[in-house]
């Protein structure tokens, strides 16, 4: 009976941790509500564990204990990181001013009931938790801790919200079928690929049903999975660009350029990502920063396991090819979806007006959309002559002070949106 008692104690201790977290200073009610949702899930788990005792006289009691305890452990594995996320969302290092405007953007984009948490992660990569069981209305956005007060990286939230949208629209299923067909026809249409497939996997020449379940799962299934993941990342890049315009290009470069040596198979090669972004920027008539593409170096090495295996190299090639056939579709889908939600591209004249205010060291009123502020912010950030006519602002603190000004501008936008009755 140790198993069940240990399990009950484990879950109880996590619940005690929830109790202590409830005493945090919450910057907005969503952090508290997320905590309450996690508590509910854990309490249900605890009740299930406690109820298990009442089945002690049943023959399959041992199996039942095994199952329930194993599930409870999985619940802890899944939800404890979320508690850490919620706790970090209360840290004053975060730029709480962005919560209101980004929440409203998420509600417009996803669903009016969407609840957003913005937090900081001890991982140098923005991330999103979406579709969390028991917390379906929540989207959790994490920015790298050192950048959690940097408003210039908020455009990356556009990419992360793209993941939530991808999930809401069940696009994995849609693209799974489409990518599978694309890869199969690629092989069917190109004899050299077919020969390579047969040689790599030792498929006999008299095997005519090339796409039986067994052959499919042992040959191209990983390629399909990788291509679909790459399609999701590509879609999310387009979402960030479509919502935030040029500012997304800058924040993308800030975070990623020149790129790492090793490529991850779930992402397109960085050079392809940049090419796709620039292609969309051209299509949507956005300004492309001079020399933008030159900031990135193509991944010089595949992931180690791909390098070592001919089969993985073959599969990655198939995935990359399949993605390239879907890029335009992904671009149009992102554009169409954002347009349907009445989210306009940043407005050049408003951006210019805000930029002029930044020159005068003041925030702007009537910025209308977050994207306008962030584009003006990036323009100011990239201007070497910013505040050169204000000698009392030392040049080494100008960028920090600009970030302060941008955040104040975002707070003013929040106030204006509240005046319009937006929650």
């Amino acid at each position: 009976m140790y198993t069940i008692n240990y399990s009950i104690e484990r879950v109880s201790r996590v619940l005690q941790t929830v109790d202590s977290l409830k005493e945090s200073e919450f910057p907005y009610k969503q952090s508290q509500e997320a905590l309450e949702d996690v508590e509910r899930v854990l309490q249900q788990t605890l009740e299930l564990l406690t109820d298990t005792h009442s089945f002690a006289d049943q023959d399959d009691f041992a199996e039942l204990v095994q199952t329930v305890c194993s599930e409870s452990l999985e619940t802890i594995f899944n939800y404890l990181p979320l508690l850490g996320f919620i706790l970090r969302s209360t840290n004053v290092r975060n730029a709480f001013e962005v919560h209101g405007p980004v929440s409203r953007l998420a509600q417009k984009l996803l669903c009016p009931d969407t609840k957003l948490l913005v937090s900081s992660e001890w991982d140098y990569s923005p991330l999103a938790y979406v579709d969390i069981p028991g917390m379906s209305s929540f989207v959790l956005l994490g920015l790298p801790s050192p950048e959690s007060s940097n408003p210039l990286l908020i455009p990356l939230a556009g990419h992360e919200l793209g993941h939530a949208l991808w999930s809401n629209l069940s696009l994995t299923n849609h693209y799974y079928d489409s990518v599978t067909s694309s890869i199969q026809s690629d092989i069917d249409d190109h004899n050299e690929l077919l020969e390579l497939l047969r040689a790599l996997y030792k498929i006999p020449c008299d095997q005519t049903d090339m796409w039986s379940d067994i052959i499919f799962s042992s040959t191209i299934s990983p390629a399909v999975t990788w291509a679909v993941r790459q399609a999701e990342e590509t879609f999310c890049d387009f979402m960030g660009l479509r919502i935030f315009g040029e500012a997304f290009l800058h924040s993308f470069a800030y975070l990623l350029c020149p790129g790492e040596e090793y490529r991850q198979v779930e992402y397109p090669n960085i050079a392809i990502r940049v090419k796709n972004l620039l292609s969309a920027a051209g299509k949507w008539k956005l300004s492309i920063p001079a020399g933008y593409g030159n900031q990135f170096l193509p991944h010089s090495a595949s992931p180690p396991f791909v390098e070592e295996s001919d089969k993985s190299q073959f599969q990655l090639k198939l995935a990359d090819e399949a993605l390239s056939r879907h890029v335009n579709d992904l671009m149009d889908r992102a554009d169409q979806y954002v347009a349907e939600k009445d989210i306009a591209l940043p407005n050049k004249s408003v951006v210019s007006k805000i930029r002029k205010k930044f020159d005068l060291t003041i925030p702007a009123e009537d910025s209308q959309e977050l994207g306008n502020i962030l584009n003006a912010g990036w323009m100011a950030y990239l201007d070497d002559r910013l505040w050169s006519n204000y000698p009392h602002i030392p040049s080494d603190v100008r960028k920090d002070r600009l970030r302060e000004l941008i955040l104040k501008n975002i707070e003013i936008l929040d106030l204006e949106q509240r005046r319009l009755g937006l929650q």
Partner: protein
């Protein structure tokens, strides 16, 4: 010379022009019509979202020689708090906190200002911004020193008018010199470094280091 409400309103309106080069700006924009018609000689300023309270437990005392941290916040001595809109900050008797104005204020080179608490809060024991001077060229949110001298805790709602800005004309040549205060271009209250000068360096050489 203190500017009257009508003149403050005129200067604010003038500062709204896209052609303004060195404007007086208060953002969010106050009710200019109300200022003009008030007959007063000040602008009400509201309480913002960030606060700092002193840490009591781990610092034996605050020495004047201890300078602010690199981030300017004085994290060694203070704890930062964020209070969202629609909520309140509670200041207990004989407690001290740094607050911040909701408004971002920019003064041109020919104007200076003095921040004083509103008497309605003073009568409740709350002393705010003891005659803080704001120099020409300042731009940013104003750090407020808030103390509850009363007997009972005071609830201060965010967004309430908490202090007032008296704006003065500055006489003398308008040159490029402007406020070098470290408080400029900030949205959070900061602790700042204790000031030193030639006399303090002479009399307290250790402190001045």
């Amino acid at each position: 010379m203190i500017l009257k409400g009508s003149e403050i309103a005129r200067q604010i309106e003038k500062g709204q022009s896209p052609k303004a080069i060195d404007p007086l700006v208060i953002t969010p924009l106050p009710d200019v019509k109300a200022i003009r018609e008030s007959g007063s000689a000040s602008v009400d300023i509201h309480l913002g979202t960030w606060f700092r309270t002193l840490r009591r437990a781990r610092i034996p005392c605050m020495k004047t020689s201890q300078s602010e941290s690199k981030t300017g916040g004085g994290q060694l001595f203070t704890t930062e708090h964020y209070v969202p809109f629609k909520e309140s900050f509670y200041l207990h008797p004989r407690s001290f906190a740094l607050g911040i104005t909701l408004e971002w204020v920019r003064l041109p080179k020919n104007l200076a200002a003095v921040v004083t608490g509103k008497s309605s809060w003073g009568r409740r024991g709350l002393i705010i911004a003891t005659a803080t001077g704001v120099h020409p060229g300042f731009s940013g949110c104003l750090t407020l020193e808030i103390t509850n001298l009363g007997e009972i805790p005071v609830e201060i709602k965010l967004g309430y008018p908490i202090c007032q800005l008296f704006i003065h004309q500055v006489l003398g040549k308008e040159d490029d010199l402007a406020d070098k205060s470290a408080f400029a271009l900030r949205r959070k209250p900061i602790f700042g470094a204790a000031p030193t000068d030639a006399i303090s360096s002479l009399l307290c050489p250790e402190e001045g280091k």
